[in-house]
């Protein structure tokens, strides 16, 4: 059983909703990255989505786009990202890490070389925004090495494709809560509850919901019907002004604490659970 599968199984048996924070690797500071990852876990993260900076993130909103630009300006590349994951793994062997990003950096690294190095570093899965199921063949070397490809579904996903996604889902299925870019729009939870319930009933994997989750209230509302809640832009925005690694960790803690509390308040078996 993979680290991601183990974590979701533990969440389920504890009756808890998972909290999945997203941060951009190298932002706000390359030096403080490993501390920040540990800080996220201390603040209640069940799984971490680590964004791989890319120059042309066409599905991301301005907050994450600018975080990518800042990281790239500091020279952050995939090799750095893998080194941070490896350093994080020295003292945390349990928290799953999924790399989220776009294909071209992996393409230039080389799929086979990346698969080997990512597994060695302790990466558990990849979510490639621009790699839908139809093109997933390019990631076969990653799957063979033991990395799980996290697939996305969205409100525009047609029924036939959704069946395929539910069947192919590994680790968890990421449901994009609205048609748009990260960090945009207001969430209409009523619209998506039914859809997510339907997907959860059919998917082999648990369902995490992201896009538009920004605070305790929206996280709690999503937590009513999702296995996990992903929170990205609002956190990245909060971290962006940090003046030191310590400050970043503090900001993450302050930001995530009420969200963690709100998720736990509505869960059956409150407790660490993980």
């Amino acid at each position: 059983m993979s680290r991601i599968d183990r974590r979701f199984a533990a969440l389920k048996s504890a009756g808890r909703t998972g909290l999945v924070p997203f941060v951009t690797a190298g932002d706000p500071s390359p030096d403080g990255m490993v501390d920040l990852l540990h800080g996220l876990v201390a603040a209640g993260a069940d799984l971490i989505e680590l964004g791989v900076p890319f120059s042309d993130p066409m599905a991301d909103g301005p907050v994450i786009q600018h975080a990518s630009e800042r990281a790239i300006a500091k020279g952050v590349g995939l090799a750095n990202v893998l080194a941070w994951v490896a350093a994080f793994r020295e003292t945390d062997a349990e928290t799953p890490i999924v790399l989220m990003g776009y294909l071209n950096p992996v393409e230039m690294y080389g799929y086979a070389a990346f698969a080997e190095d990512a597994v060695e570093a302790g990466v558990d899965g990849v979510l490639m925004v621009d790699c839908p199921l139809e093109e997933a063949h390019v990631l076969e070397p990653l799957r063979q090495a033991g990395l799980q490809q996290i697939l996305l579904a969205s409100p525009t996903t047609a029924e036939a494709r959704l069946a395929g996604l539910c069947e192919a889902a590994a680790g968890f299925l990421y449901y994009v809560s609205f048609a748009g870019i990260t960090g945009a729009a207001q969430l209409s939870t009523g619209d998506i509850a039914g859809r997510v319930a339907d997907i959860r009933a059919r998917s082999k994997a648990p369902v995490a919901v992201g896009f538009g989750v920004r605070d305790a209230a929206s996280a709690s509302a999503i937590g009513e019907f999702a296995d996990a809640v992903v929170i990205g832009s609002a956190l990245v925005d909060r971290l962006s002004g940090a003046v030191s690694a310590e400050d970043a960790v503090g900001r993450a803690r302050d930001f995530l604490a009420p969200i963690r509390a709100a998720l736990d308040a509505r869960c059956i078996g409150v407790g660490s659970g993980t």
């Binding site: 599905a59 790239i72 071209n104 393409e107 996903t157 048609a179």
Partner: protein
Amino acid sequence: MTEIADFHAWPDAHGRFGEYGGIYVAETLMEPLAELTAAYEKLRRDPAFIAELDRDLKYYVGRPSPVYHAERLSKHIGGARIVLKREDLNHTGAHKINNTVGQALVARHMGKTRIIAETGAGQHGVASATVAARLGLKCVVYMGAVDIERQKINVYRMRLLGADVVPVTSGSKTLKDALNDAMRDWVTNVADTFYIIGTVAGPHPYPQMVRDFNAIVGREAREQVLEQFGRLPDVITAAVGGGSNAIGMFHAFLNDRGVRLVGAEAAGEGIATGRHAASLAAGKPGVLHGNRTYVLSDANGQIVETHSVSAGLDYPGVGPEHAFLKDAGRAEYVGITDDEALEAFHLLARTEGILAALESSHAIAQAIKLARELPKDGLVLANLSGRGDKDVHTIAAREGIEL
């Protein structure tokens, strides 16, 4: 290298040209692209749609555009005959209108009420604003802030036509960033919005659809050259940024193995300087803007900033069919520097009285090089893809002339 039996058989059912092309987009766009593919597949076989398109191309665009034997230029060069396909004579001044007329008709058939487009040099933006005005559709054009500055006249033309021009200030503030923002808009507004991509790149079915709408350039030229000269050309040149005018020109000739096809990419200040936009000559296969193709990226896979005197060629990727033709050895891709393009611009202006777009001047420069190598009865066909009025300020500024 695999031997290709029929170049007209591509893309395959997955939108792939060999290992290139495909659909590399966010999940949200998969269904809109599937809807577009289904609509286009139906329309491209529909005699009524084809008749409608042909009427527009004839009476609105002004097709067929002539092929023109540039005798004074040819004589000046002292080599083979140079023949120009005059896409600059189309309505709005470039080949771009062929595609926008086609896509706007598709948009109308799909019931879309809003058009978005991205533009570099502004020609595609102008063409999109033009067809939107004609069909009464709302139009938003994304354009890099740098390009807005160097293409002021086209920006004003778009606004005169009723389009909103949205400056893009992220990244390199040029075409690739405008494309990212247009994609973001599309993701957000898929229900009522049709995205008119301006070149043969992007996710399937765009590379095929844009090619099909521009392939009339080569079909006409093939007939016209046969009629006027009784033979096919020895070699064809066309400028390649994203590659729509070049594919449009090359496509009808792909299975004429005796005709050399040469794409002229923007070598900018020289390939060796790193300040260029020659994706095929200096890039590697990668994934950008929804398709696998040759891209210019650094060791970390970040897309690099490009340079060309011509805003329309200033793009770090290229259409996947060109990547396929390069690997198959069917077409050659060479670099033309800014200086060479400008020299060709002036030479054509003074020998033939034609101001070519800076994009097209790359094709003319390559045609001149090849004509010098061929005997006097040789035939070089160059695609004069657009007129140079829009570039007059750029050229004057570069030459230190205040207008």
